[in-house]
């Protein structure tokens, strides 16, 4: 009778120690992952953004939203998924060799799930927050302008008629227009700026020597003066976007 409580206390203590251990592991892995993310230099940085346009107007261009970041994002999220899977596998193997109680397993698996959910919802949150911030700052700018207008020296509101050409030097507007047009015609790709729902990757054009920017060594075909690159059932062609030359997925030329 006396030994049983002792055993229970020992089991609880062991559980706590193991839990703390696994949390520390997770923290350490998290840091490691962060370090890995930070080290992706050598072209891993996006070169496109609102300020790259050098224009006197700006749309709602997102930070780092470019062809380059499209592929970067996709590979990063794949890496995140892989590491999440690895974590889960490692956790499971520890659990299978462990004789600990079910509470710990539940806790650990809930932890994994929470991590996965957190990482998957992080991007969405960031995008939403960015959109909200932009909307808010636009409102603030409009309000402050209205408020400040009576002060001497402020220009009157634009009274010109050609609003069609408003912000024509804003790369964002054009890119969205292109994206929409291209989606309709070719189906299923985004031009330069992926929309939030798009999962298509735009490949950066490689150096002239090869096809390193494509997911394979492609078959090359010329149709009506256009060079197409085929990887399996996917076709690509090169085109000039505002961030340079990129490979774009297109429908089969024949």
């Amino acid at each position: 009778m006396n030994t049983k409580p002792y055993l229970i206390v020992t089991a609880i203590a062991a559980t706590i120690v193991l839990l703390i251990g696994s949390v520390n592991d997770a923290v350490a892995r998290g840091r490691g992952g962060g370090g890995g993310g930070g080290s992706r230099g050598g072209g891993g940085y996006s070169r496109s953004g609102a300020a790259a346009s050098g224009s006197f107007s700006s749309g709602s261009m997102r930070a780092g939203s470019s062809a380059a970041s499209a592929s970067g994002t996709s590979s990063r999220s794949q890496a995140a998924q892989t590491s999440a899977t690895n974590r889960a596998a490692a956790q499971q193997s520890r659990q299978s060799t462990s004789t600990e109680n079910q509470a710990q397993r539940q806790s650990a698996s809930a932890q994994n799930q929470a991590q996965r959910q957190q990482s998957s919802s992080q991007n969405v949150e960031t995008r939403q927050q960015a959109a909200t911030n932009r909307a808010q700052s636009r409102q603030q700018a409009a309000q402050s302008y209205q408020g400040a207008y009576p002060a001497g020296g402020y220009y009157p509101a634009p009274a010109y008629g050609y609003y069609d050409d408003d912000n024509w030097d804003d790369g964002e507007v054009a890119a969205v227009a292109i994206g929409a047009a291209a989606l309709g015609a070719v189906g299923g790709y985004a031009a330069g700026q992926p929309s939030d729902t798009s999962t298509t990757t735009v490949y950066n054009a490689p150096p002239p020597s090869g096809s390193a920017g494509l997911p394979c060594t492609p078959n090359t075909t010329v149709v009506k003066g256009v060079t197409y690159y085929q990887c399996g059932s996917s076709w690509y062609t090169q085109a000039y976007g505002n961030s340079g030359v990129v490979y774009m997925p297109v429908s089969a030329p024949y």
């Binding site: 993310g37 940085y45 346009s53 402020y154 003066g225 060079t227 000039y240």
Partner: protein, 290 residues
């Protein structure tokens, strides 16, 4: 005792009045020259009486824009840099050098070298806009008659291409600047590389801009800073102009693109929807199969 108290009170009152009067006169002495200086030379924004000051800033800006728009030909070098907010939250700066040649109404040439060494060329000869990347041996070309204004607008708005500060190259620059500017201030008079310069700060709905315009007969911008206040991280674009030349030597072939041997024509992204149907018409220089 009463008289003592009264005299003390009187003295105190006198001192207070004297101090107030002195203080006021000192203030007036300080503000007056400033106000005069501001209204006469447009050198500083101070106090309330400087009602004329923003008009001065507006005039300086307008003069610069109109001067540039009416200059028939010029060349200038542009060293610019811009920040890009990465997904990690870190802002990274990239740069590029541009050599711009404008010959109104039909000639435009922009040579670009990015900070990673990549070079590009944009040309317009009154008929066709071309962009060329020698390192990749590819170019894209589209027909757009009608002059630099039309071509630049089409290049940016319809083709979605990038040409920083392109608005400065068009003859509609003064009107565009006035239409977009919601507020404008004179920041200070300053000196850039020995040149006395007006520093102006303007605001559009989406971009805050600063421009440094030299005093004198050639009010051509020396520096421009653009802040994208609505973009996440409020990144900036900075440009430094140098070697303004209003009488550059110009040859006809500077604006017309002649594809080097082996160069392949590709499409603009904007042309992709019609690519399969129309193809690219370039019989002479289209490359064959690899």
């Amino acid at each position: 005792m009463k008289t003592n108290k009264q005299s003390i009170l009187r003295t105190a009152l006198c001192v207070a009045v004297m101090t107030t009067i002195l203080g006021c006169s000192e203030k007036a002495a300080v503000t007056q020259p400033d106000t005069l200086a501001a209204s006469e030379a447009g050198s500083r924004t101070v106090a309330k009486p400087a009602v004329a000051e923003p008009a001065v800033a507006k005039d300086i800006l307008k003069r610069m824009a109109e001067f540039l728009a009416k200059t028939p030909r010029f060349s200038v070098n542009l060293a610019d840099s811009y920040e890009v907010l990465q997904e990690s939250g870190q802002k990274i700066e990239f740069g590029e050098n541009r050599k711009i040649i404008v010959s109104r109404p039909n000639g435009l040439r922009v040579e670009v070298e990015h900070s990673d060494g990549e070079k590009h060329l944009v040309q317009y000869d009154g008929k066709e806009i071309t962009t060329f990347s020698p390192s990749q041996n590819v170019y894209a070309q589209v027909s757009k008659p009608g002059g630099i204004d039309n071509a630049v607008m089409y290049f940016l708005r319809d083709l979605g291409m990038r040409l920083p500060l392109a608005i400065l190259l068009t003859s509609r620059f003064p009107a565009e600047l006035e239409r977009r500017t919601q507020a404008l201030d004179y920041v200070e008079k300053t000196v850039i590389d020995g040149t006395p310069t007006h520093h102006l700060a303007g605001r559009t709905e989406t971009v805050d801009y600063q421009v440094w315009i030299p005093e004198g007969a050639q009010p051509l911008p020396l520096r421009i800073v653009l802040t994208y206040k609505n973009a996440v991280g409020q990144p900036t674009f900075r440009a430094q102009f140098s070697d303004w030349n209003l009488a550059p030597g110009i040859q006809d072939n500077q604006f017309t693109f002649t594809p080097p041997e082996g160069t392949r024509k590709i499409a603009f992204l904007a042309q992709l929807p019609n690519l399969a149907r129309e193809g690219i018409t370039n019989p002479e220089h289209t490359g064959g199969q690899k």
